[in-house]
Amino acid sequence: MNKLLIEFLSGYTATNQWAAILPEIMMGVLALCLLAAEMVLPKNRQAWVPRLAIWGQVLILMIAFGFVGRCSIGEFQYFSGLITQTDVTQIMRGFFLVSSIAVCYLGHIYLSKQTLPQTEFYALVLIISAGMMLLVQSTHFVMLFVALETVTVAFYVLVAYSRTSQFSLEAGLKYLILGALSSGILLFGIVLLYGIAGNPELLGASRDSLNYGELMNFVILNMNNMIVKIGALLVIAGVCFKIGAVPFQIWVPDVYQGAPTPVTAYLAVASKAAGFIVLIELVRGPFFGLQDFLVPVLSVIAAATILFGNIAAVAQRNVKRLMGLSGIAHAGYLLLGVIAVMRGVDWAVYAVIFYLVTYLLASFAVFGVMSIAAGEEDANQELDHYESFARKRPFLGGVLACGLGSLAGIPPLGGFIGKLFLFVAAFQAELYGLLIIAIVGVVISIYYYFGWIRECYFSSSSTAVVKDISCGATSSDRFLLGALTVASIVIGILPAALPIIR
């Protein structure tokens, strides 16, 4: 072989530092280990599988933290620009690990009530988590798409996991078809960008035209090119599907209702968070030059998302759909932060992350209570089932009230500080119209969140015959839910406890 080629290839591989994605690799290995463990362990020891999944992830989380702790803050590119690690991505890797641990735990509660295979659930959750960790780090459209599809395909399976439930199967099919449609839209946009940015006739054309950095330079030089704009628009549309922004939110209520509750939680929290980080990286990176074009588009989407999510949730009686619809509203508030980033308010990125963290804590608390309170038919959880819930289960009622209060943005819970940061960021970005809409949305949200709390605490008669709630919380349930609630309160009182915004 000639020297030139070797040099060329070694130049290519010089940045292949596998250690940089050690947590992701370990997650993949752990997922395989789980599958192996199921085969090796005897029937009466199968309970070790979820334990292995959870404790394995805790270990990975600790390793990842130690790993991150030793890195200095900065921007590092690996794999010839396929992935880039910044402080944002490091925080988000922890975020996804924590959420997959929580999902595994909720899955454990859920699966104990069903007669479904166990191990595959945890393995898929781990794969998704690894995929999302790579997704937020990717700074190359190929990497983005591969990671995104890893996540999405695994979600197709998880959504339809409850094979015996009609709701779950229907949700799986809907998610599959609409997800494929949106992936198609996304891919079409990527292809257009690839083609136009690789066109040597245009200024700034690049050989590596799917790399964010290269693309960013190209887009800045060709910001009036129509193909560039349409490509960007299609990519944004594809991402909007993941975050559930109007009009790509249409799948949310049905899928959230049909999917097993832990999967709903996973979709609501982690999948949405990944979508937002990707969106932020896109608007800060390749689409940086298109602000004048994208800000109005995203503003319209944000306004419609906030109004739709909140108004649709008002009349909703099924709590899983309610969480889905209110989650749409939260996506709308978060879009405010994204738009603020586009308008040059740099710290809004951290406001978005802060909000996501408070959303994670509150959502998992609520979904945790839902998992425990749910009967055998998981899709059928109505508000009426929660009548006098707090009187029967004071601890779970308290957790639920705190979680919902935080989602509604009631001080002194974490959700309030999250909203405050987002609103201040939106203010600095001068998004006054959107802010007014957001505030109307927040007031409407008080109605339905408190409708639920009211159902728990107030009942139409003091001696109501309470529908039996299947089982109580074990001490480990209490520990997890209590920890989430305490974290929500602590963050609300001392926001500095979360070292994201200083």
């Binding site: 078809i177 066109n199 549309a237 909703q316 609103f423 505030i439 927040v442 408190f450 926001p495």
Partner: protein
């Protein structure tokens, strides 16, 4: 000792947490113990009065979160002290009273938890110096008062009213938060103490109007000013101690407090002063008018509270020294007598089982102590000397006669308001105790309330009398510092002795008119009740509450309607929506960025290709309209083979072969499946088909346009050329494709082989397990 502030807050919140446990062990006697918390806070705060009077403020500050420059800072100045003393002092008596009133209630512990949490939030609100902190406590008061109002949650009505209060105040609070953020942006500080010194900066900023409107949105909803007044009488649904507390000292005064607190920065601007004065007087008049027709004692008191809130707002708007002085005095007086009256009414309700003033008569013999307390409070409320209420009313008239021109209208409003208020005071506080007793109509046999229930009323009502006679301590240590804080001026000596006010001048004359008129209203009370139902039902559909109801119902209707339209649950509709939106966005982008001008080079296409395309189009149409599976499949196959031919024609034989193979395979596979399917039927209606046709045409057309635009893109051939050039010299292979597969991209190939192998293993496993299952069954 700044730690006093955090200590008094902590003591109340901690007691709140302990309350359920204490009640479990002590029953309703726990109230006496729990009352220690507010009273000890009261004593600790009173001890600071000397320092505050000397013009110093108590500041407690720790860092909170620095990104917004906010800190956890508490500050006690004249105004805060006044409010804090009312909150804790009256609060203590309410805690005791609740033990008697809610005697034996199964959820008393939870009630105390909410009540004390509310008290803590209220205390926090009046002592916080940071705007964000103010908002936090503000929301806490909303939430805890929601829980308190909705405490008797068995009735649907009650829950609806509690929610109404929460939504209305919640809307205001969010507006206020935006106002706060605006203030923070304009002044660069969230500290109230600093903001009140930056009045010029605020008033000069272009945001001033927005700030005033947003802040007033919060204050008006909380203090129930027109047009948000309706929630307050509805909040009567709560247990009586709640009403006594919410409506006398605290929650409704929060808005007044906020306006007074920000007054130094806003005073002097016409916008602020006229808005307050006009809305205040409107509230007063409306409240008095509606109050005339009420028969429920509690409602009467609620409407008078509304009126007082109107007066306070109006006085703040007038803003002269006398007006502010009147406001502070009136605020203290009102807190004392209104708390008393609510508690007395609660006792009457508790002992007789009704609150209907048309039934209640001559209870003074049976309930002498309550009668005394109620009478004293009613006289103070009427503004008769020597009660504290009199001083307040005199000062209002003194402020009023100083007005000029059109502003004199406020004096008239105050006169009318006070006059009716006196009538209502007598109606609620005196009426039930005098007259000919007719106890037979009462649901319960009345007797005097227990100690816990008359202690608070008698202490507070006597306080109203004593302060009226010797006002020195209160005016020097509470009114004067508060006055200074509201006006943003130095603390001055006040001379509010009773004998200084009783002088033959115009204000005294107006007082006389008030007394006569009020008595006249009281005597004619039955006339108003006679027409009450007719009047109230006539105006009801035009009121703000009806408006609220309409908006509320419209939202719910809209929510349900959109669920019906959009969330049909049919995948078909969802796909339609997503595709159409994408089409919409793309069309917008193409049209607005001049994408419709493209050139087609017809010379590049010869007759053969054109014929092929026409055949494919026909085949596609056949596929759509076909009536049997075979026709549809054959038509689809024609389209596929057409594509293959196009590939072949333009010199890509390998692609053409692949396409041909895939196409053949799919058609064959399809055939296998089709044979097992039921016959093809048209399920969708004509409209749906038309709609889908339009969608397909639009999307297809759009993609065509995009492709035509994209054809102009010159793709980079560099890589393929390079690979072709390097394949022989580097890899010694003449077949470029082979070289790419096994040499240049060997790793990719290996990966693919692995994937295929794994898939094959998986299929093998599936087939094997399927066979095993069959074997078992047979």
């Amino acid at each position: 000792m700044p730690t006093i502030l955090i200590l008094s807050l902590a003591i109340i919140f901690l007691t709140a947490c302990l309350a359920p446990t204490l009640v479990r062990y002590l029953g309703d006697r726990a109230g006496w113990l729990l009352a220690f918390a507010p009273f000890s806070a009261f004593i600790m705060l009173v001890a600071q009065a000397g320092m505050i009077e000397a013009g110093e403020a108590l500041v407690y500050q720790v860092d909170w979160f620095s990104v917004l420059d906010t800190s956890f800072s508490l500050r006690l100045d004249g105004l805060s002290l006044l409010m804090a003393l009312l909150v804790t002092g009256i609060g203590g008596f309410i805690v005791i009273y609740a033990g008697g009133y809610m005697h034996g209630h199964p959820q008393l512990g939870r009630f105390y938890l909410y009540l004390l949490a509310f008290m803590g939030a209220m205390l926090g609100l009046v002592v916080s110096d940071d705007l964000i902190l103010v908002f936090v406590f503000w929301e806490l008061t909303s939430i805890s008062s929601y829980l308190l109002i909705g405490f008797n949650h068995e009735q649907k009505e009650t829950r609806w009213k509690a929610l109404q209060a929460l939504l209305v105040t919640g809307l205001g609070a969010m507006a206020m938060l935006v106002g706060f953020i605006l203030i923070g942006t304009v002044t660069g500080s969230y500290s109230l103490a600093e903001i009140t010194r930056m009045g010029d900066l605020l008033q000069g900023s272009p945001w001033f109007t927005a700030i005033v409107i947003l802040i007033l949105g919060g204050a008006f909803t909380k203090s129930a000013q027109v047009p948000f007044h309706f929630w307050l009488p509805n909040a009567m649904a709560g247990p009586t101690p709640v009403s006594a507390y919410l409506h006398s000292a605290t929650m409704v005064k929060a808005g007044i407090y906020l306006m007074a607190r920000l007054n130094p920065s806003f005073a002097g601007s016409g916008l602020w002063e006229y808005t307050l004065a006009i809305f205040g007087s409107l509230t007063l008049l409306l409240a008095m008018f509606l109050g005339l027709f009420q028969k429920d004692v509690k409602s009467i008191l609620a409407y008078t509270t509304l009126g007082v809130l109107g007066v306070l707002t109006m006085l703040l708007g007038i803003g002269s020294e006398y007006a502010i002085k009147a406001m502070v005095v009136f605020l203290i007086g009102h807190a004392l007598y209104k708390a008393t009256l609510f508690m007395v009414v609660g006792s009457i309700d508790h002992e007789t089982g009704t609150r209907d003033v048309t039934l209640l008569r001559g209870l003074r013999k049976l309930m002498p102590i309550s009668a005394l307390a109620g009478g004293l409070a009613a006289l103070s409320m009427s503004g008769l000397p020597p009660f504290f209420g009199f001083i307040g009313k005199e000062l209002i008239y003194k402020a009023g006669v100083k007005l000029n021109g059109a502003e004199l209208i406020f004096l008239v409003v105050a006169l009318v308001g006070n006059l009716i208020m006196m009538g209502l005071a007598l109606k609620a506080g005196v009426g039930p105790f005098f007259g000919k007793p007719n106890h037979a109509v009462l649901p319960k046999k009345p007797h005097e309330a227990p100690l816990a229930m008359w202690l608070g009323p008698i202490v507070l009502s006597v306080a109203g009398l004593v302060i009226g006679i010797i006002p020195f301590w209160v005016t020097e240590f509470m009114v004067a510092p508060a006055l200074a804080a509201i006006r943003g001026a130095e603390i001055a000596h006040l001379d509010l002795a009773l004998w200084n006010l009783v002088r033959p001048n115009l204000p005294l004359l107006l007082s006389g008119v008030t007394v006569l008129g009020g008595f006249f209203v009281f005597l004619n009370r039955a006339r108003f009740w006679a027409v009450a139902d007719r009047v109230l039902t006539t105006i009801q559909p035009y009121g703000a509450e009806a408006m609220y109801g309409r908006i509320f119902n419209a939202t719910i209707w809209f929510s349900k309607a959109q669920t019906r339209w959009l969330q049909t649950g049919r995948l078909h509709d969802y796909v339609f929506l997503i595709v159409m939106t994408t089409v919409g966005f793309l069309t917008w982008a193409i049209v607005s960025f001049g994408g419709l001008n493209f050139s087609v080079d017809w010379a590049a296409y010869d007759l053969l290709i054109i014929c092929l395309v026409i055949i494919m189009i026909i085949a596609a149409l056949v596929a759509v309209t076909g009536r049997s599976y075979i026709t549809v499949l054959v038509a689809l196959g024609v389209v596929g083979f057409g594509v293959a031919l196009i590939f072949a024609y333009y010199g890509a034989p390998d692609l053409a072969i692949t396409q041909l193979l895939v196409e053949t395979l799919t058609v064959v596979l399809f055939m296998f499946v089709v044979l097992r399917l039921p016959p093809l039927k048209t399920i969708s209606g004509r409209f749906t088909r038309l709609r889908d046709g339009i969608m397909a045409t639009a999307f297809g057309g759009l993609i065509t346009i995009l492709l035509l635009k994209a054809v102009n893109i010159q793709f980079d051939h560099a890589i393929s050329d390079q690979l072709a050039a390097m394949s022989y010299p580097e890899a010694k292979g003449k077949n470029v494709v082979n070289v790419i597969l096994v040499d240049f991209r060997a790793l990719d190939t290996m990966g693919e082989i692995v994937v295929v192998t794994v898939a094959a293993l998986g299929i093998a496993a599936l087939v094997k397990s399927g066979l095993k299952g069959k074997g078992k069954r047979s």
